[in-house]
Each structure stands twice: as C-alpha cells, then as structure tokens.
C-alpha cells in the first residue's frame, strides 16, 4: 500500500505493508533512526513522535494511518549545528545517560512545553510518566524540562 505524508517538513511517499508501524517506517524505510523502539506495545514511550502537533506512540500507529498527516521526529526538532534550548537544557542538567529514551523525552517535552509553557513540576511528571527511563531516575529530566520553559514562553519553540 502507498502512503503519503509529511515528515519533518518534507513530503514522503512510502510503499509499505499495512502491518508496518509508523515507528518501523520512520526507522527503516526513511532511515530516521532517531525514533527508538523499546517495547512495541505502547508502554515505554521511546517511539514518541508528533503527528499533527500531538505526541503519539509511533509503535501503535500503522504507517498507512499517517496518510495526509504532518509527522515530526526528534531529527525535525533539531538544528543542523548546535542544540535547541530544550536540548541544551537536557545537556546542562545531565538529563540523559545512555540516550535511548531521550528522543521520546524530547518530543514529548516539546509537545508539552509548546501547549503548556507554564506547566509545573507535577504536570511535567504526570506527562513524562508515559516515558520510561532506566538510567537517570528522572529527577534531572524533570529539572531540564522545567528549566526549558522560559524558551517556550512568548511562543518561542
């Protein structure tokens, strides 16, 4: 089956089996390996991408369901040189170690801060409770997201 959608601002067309997940399509057909697969049953959040502005688990979406949508992955939230304010905040606070959960944390945090730049620590923890991390213990991740709020206030992103 063919599916046509936009990824990180670029139109793509893929020919895929219906059973192929959006996660696998991004990783293996489009070679955007920044989105990671940690469980394939919708629990760990490592596969989180933005679809039409909303954070979703790409392992629970079929690639063919992305037809006509705008998909943004962690690569699309990055600059060619240097780090975005959110990424710089993660680095400053040591909010990553092995880096495997990180793309999902970045996309989820970006979606949250874009919609709710005034979110408090409880809200950050509530939203990130759908993203598992095994290395950091989360404290530094929450600190990093809170510290990045300033960059999102006034509509910056």
């Amino acid at each position: 089956m063919k599916a046509r959608f936009e990824v990180n601002g670029r139109e793509v067309e893929v020919a895929v089996e219906p059973r192929l997940t959006l996660a696998d399509c991004l990783r293996h057909h489009l070679r955007l390996t920044g989105t990671h697969v940690g469980c394939e049953h919708g629990v760990c959040g490592a596969c989180t991408v933005l679809v039409d502005g909303k954070a979703v688990r790409s392992c629970l979406m079929l690639a063919v369901q992305a037809e006509g949508s705008k998909v943004v992955t962690v690569e699309g939230l990055s600059k060619d040189e240097g780090l975005t304010p959110l990424q710089a905040s993660f680095r400053k606070h040591h909010a990553l170690q092995c880096g495997f959960c990180t793309p999902g944390m970045i996309t989820t945090a970006h979606a949250l801060l874009t919609a709710e730049p005034d979110c408090d620590a409880d809200r950050v923890r509530e939203v990130l409770s759908g993203n598992l991390c095994r290395c950091t213990g989360y404290v530094s991740i929450v600190e990093a997201v809170l510290d990045a709020r300033a960059a999102y206030k006034g509509g910056a992103s």
Binding site: H41, A55, V56
Partner: protein
C-alpha cells in the same frame, strides 16, 4: 513483535465500514485509536484478515451536550474530553474518571468507542458507562440499535457487539446541578489499569438524605459492576460516617475478585470497599 499480516481499509462512510465488516464474517476488526488493538496484534493474540480504520468517519467525533444528556461520538479521544471545558460541569464524574486513563501520548489517540468495545474489566470508561446507565448506540448490517450498558458488558474483553456492528455513540443521561459524586481509583502507578476503582453518585431529597444512588466498582470482576446492595444502604439515609462505613462493608461483601500477579483477591476485595468509602467521603464533602 511484528504483527501478523492483514489487509487494511479506510472507508469514508459508516455504511461502507459496516459492509466491509459483514463481508468478512468475523475476520475483520475495527481500528479506532489502536491503543488497545495494536498491542494485541503485536503479541499475536489475534490475527484478523482485515482492519477497518474509522479515522475518516468524522461524524463520529462530536461531543454533544444537550438537555437530554451528554453524547460522545465513538471516535472522541481522551484529549478531546480533557480540552472540552463545558464537560467539567456537564459531567464532572466522567471528567474525573477520564483523568486516570493511561498516559499523555495514549490520550491523544485512544477513543471512547475503542475503550467501550475493548471492555477491559479495569478500564475507567466502561465503569462510568455502567454506573451512569449509559446507552451504547451501534450500527450494523441489520440497522441501528441501542444497547444498555448493563447488557453490553458480558465478560472480560467480551461485549454484546456483533461482528458487523460498530459503536456510533455513547450516551450518558443528563446530569443535574447539585448532584453529588465521587471517583476514586488506586493503581500501582499513575496511568496503570485500576487495582480497584469506584465511580458513584447520588442525589439528595428535601430531607438531605441520599436518593437515586448509583454505585459502581471497576477492576474487581470480569466486567464493571453496579452494586445494588450498596445503593440500598445509601438510599434514604444520611451519608454520614456510619452510613459510609456500612457502605464500605457491604461493598467488600459484594465482590469476589481473583488473585493475579499484581494483587491478591483478598486485598482487592478490601480495596473495593476502601474505594467506595473514599468516593463517598468525597461526595459528602462536596459543596454543591
């Protein structure tokens, strides 16, 4: 954990969707948000020949608040409920329950219709449907019909839906101002399925006694339950400490949950009572 192979269709009308389901004679499954179905397929616990994606049926996305009650199109997502400010007063019990559903990303895709059709015994929406005596409007090759919640949930992951039927709308009765309600859930972690939960409401008569009590519990049987024995304790009584204690004890006596890897049956039995107790306290302390 790759899914078994299937065909995929994305109809633009409801009748097209129903035609596809009935043509495949039980070997087709409806795809709504996919948050429950896709994991099932990933574990190869099911192998449908065809998935019928409802995402183009935009008529199913409406939330309607009228004097007749609150109606949710089957494709309404949890995030849609969250962002509808009117619902907070139109149906505060539902809004409180939905706050416990899953996680941020799942709430952006998961649907009301999907949750009802999936019928997980520990899910919040089926529990609300039971407590509030929801009506589930479905459409099939034989035409439309309405199924009462009490008849709809038939067991764990088992409903009254026929293979060719699609849920169209979930209707909750109107919610009067001044109604007292409570929702309490305990899960191992935030967003997990409930170990037990209570969803309840009652009205008060001129003497301040409870009336029209509806008490439901989630997660302690193969389907959400209403507890008439507990409702009988409340109706006609002042909801004070003594009544609440009796309601708790009656709840515990009325349920017989199994043990599983997460908790013992005895614990869940007691927990159900605690959830009712705390939901009643919450209701009794509300300022209408």
């Amino acid at each position: 954990m790759k899914m078994p192979p299937f065909d995929y269709a994305c109809p633009t009308t409801l009748s097209e969707a129903i035609a596809l389901l009935s043509a495949h004679d039980g070997e087709a499954k409806v795809l709504a948000g996919g948050q429950s179905l896709v994991p099932i397929l990933a574990f190869r616990l099911a192998a449908p020949k065809l998935l019928v994606d409802l995402r183009k049926l935009t008529d199913l996305r409406a939330i309607k608040i009228t004097p007749d009650g609150v109606a949710f199109g089957a494709m309404v997502r949890w995030c849609d409920i969250e962002s509808d400010a009117h619902l907070r007063t139109a149906h505060p019990l539902l809004v409180a329950a939905i706050a416990h559903v899953a996680h941020y990303q799942i709430r952006n895709r998961g649907t009301v219709g999907g949750s009802i059709a999936h019928a997980d015994p520990a899910a919040e929406m089926p529990g609300i449907a039971m407590t509030c005596e929801a009506e589930i409007a479905v459409m099939g090759k034989a035409g439309p019909r309405t199924i009462k919640a009490a008849d709809f949930f038939q067991g764990a992951l088992t409903t009254a839906l026929k293979a060719d039927e699609i849920i169209v709308e979930i209707r909750l009765p109107p919610w009067p101002a001044g109604r007292r309600w409570g929702f309490q859930e305990f899960a191992r972690r935030r967003g997990d399925f409930a170990l037990a939960a209570a969803a309840l409401f009652y009205d008060t008569d001129v003497a301040g006694k409870a009336a029209n009590a509806h008490v439901g519990v989630i997660g302690v049987a193969d389907r959400p339950l209403r507890l008439p024995s507990v409702e009988a304790v409340l109706n006609g009584a002042a909801v004070d400490a003594a009544t609440i204690a009796r309601a708790e004890a009656t709840t515990t006596a009325a349920v017989n949950p199994d043990s599983d890897i997460h908790a013992s049956g005895a614990y869940r039995k007691a927990l159900a009572g605690t959830m009712v107790e705390r939901a009643l306290k919450m209701a009794a302390e509300q300022t209408p």
